[in-house]
């Protein structure tokens, strides 16, 4: 899946937005800050481009995450 740019990073498979993972990837982040703060605006890391990205960023390499199926 490689749609045109315009779909946000937050819905991409390559977007790592979990704050625990973010703290793990950004060594020392928890010493004087946190990945759980409001300032970070729930940014993440793009594992495809290896860059910090905002949730609302976009790019041409977007890969939609699969919809979660709740229940059995």
């Amino acid at each position: 899946m490689n749609p045109a740019a315009g779909v946000a990073c937050r819905d991409c498979r390559d977007f790592v937005g979990d704050p625990h993972a973010l703290e793990s990837a950004s060594r020392g982040l928890g010493i004087l800050s946190s990945a759980f703060n409001a300032i970070s605006a729930h940014d993440g890391i793009c594992s495809h481009h290896d860059r910090y990205v905002a949730r609302s960023s976009t790019c041409r390499d977007f890969r939609q995450i699969e919809h979660r199926v709740d229940g059995p």
Binding site: R10, G17, G28, I31, S33, F36, H42, D50, S56
Partner: protein, 469 residues
Amino acid sequence: MSAIVESIPGHASPADSERTPGSSERAWYRTEDYWAIILGVGLVLLAAFAVWNGTSIKWLAVAPQKWNALGDVATHFANNAVRYLALFAFWALAFTGVTRALGFRASQFLPAFAVIFVASTAIIAVGAWAEADRYNLEPPLVALAIGLLFSNVLTLPSWLSAGLRVEFYVKTGIVLLGATLPLTLLASAGPVAIVQAAIVSLVTFGVIYFLAVRLGLDRRFAATLGAGGAVCGVSAAIAVAGAVGAKKEHGPIAITIVVFWAIVMIFVLPLVARVLHLPTGVAGAWIGTSEFADAAGFAAAQAYGGYAGSVPGIDGTADAAVNAFTLMKVIGRDLWIGIWAFVLSIIAATRWESNGIQGGAGAAEIWRRFPKFVIGFVLTSALIAWVASSYSSADYNKILKPDLINPVKTLRTWAFTFCFLSIGLSTRWRDLASTGTKPVIAFSAGVLVNVVLGFALSALVFGAYWAAL
């Protein structure tokens, strides 16, 4: 990435638990700021309700009093053991609930917090020793020094890291601090703080950014470093890294440099201010201008405030140091991170070489990055102002101060001590990223300009203003 997440100590929830397509925001309960507001404002409300009902939370807000002989402090603990247990139970319950909502396992947070609480009790007790001032045993500095010593000399168990939530402890402390910072002071001194902070922030960012670019560093990295030095340390660096799309390896480098200078300044700024006999308000403003992170700055400001009345030649009150720091750092610098990130994201998208990622920032980004805990800080200040308005000056000193203000202040001291100890315990130099020379040179040049300019503005240009705070 799942492997990374699973290896994180104390992490309870699956990595993609919040990855619902189309969701624009993480759930509010996964953000520390909102929990700091709930806990801090809730505590102040509870304290106010207690006073209205003719009682007080001061039974819960226990802390060691000034003591001369070890026997005194031992007697104090023996007589108040139940109160300390109740206080531990209160903090443990509140923090375990919050960290559970953030995704940490209660089974790992609780023992870690028990260690933090016991160590903090010892540190506050040392600070209450009548001779502590003589030996510079200020609790914030003792907490940091002990933490740094243990984390860098010994190998701490990994489960302890679940309890080291520096940012949450400091935010809770700041919200509680609002209760002791008059709303009128916030309104009158806020604009001065904003002007002073704006001058220093712009100059510091400019020095770091342009020197970094001149040294050949990537512009996005230069902006990340600049924000770290100019606005609010590590938080600003990572926020700007996300806004401009900085490389993944540049975040940890910026973190290492900011943490190094922030820790150095915790000890250096109070020491130099003490040598110069700066009034507490002036020193607080200088620390607020020239420290790089809220938690680090509170340690320095609270340590310097401790000199008031105990070190000859230092005028002012302990509160003046912390209040001036808070006005300068929180109101003058932290509040504006959203605008920095917004402006830099536009510059990155329109002026810098493309990195293949289009920033999606709009004006809404300013609110999204707003440090929400500040709302709690203003709320508690307004709440106390409202409560106090129905008391005469005499009743304020007779009832409100001992039954409401002082207990909240004691709880704030606890929250800050948890924070200072956690900074020390989580700072393991060997675990931090190596930096290379160029980023260090660029950032250090900014530090030098920041410290000198911050001193000139705090002590000379606005000196009379901050001294009278």
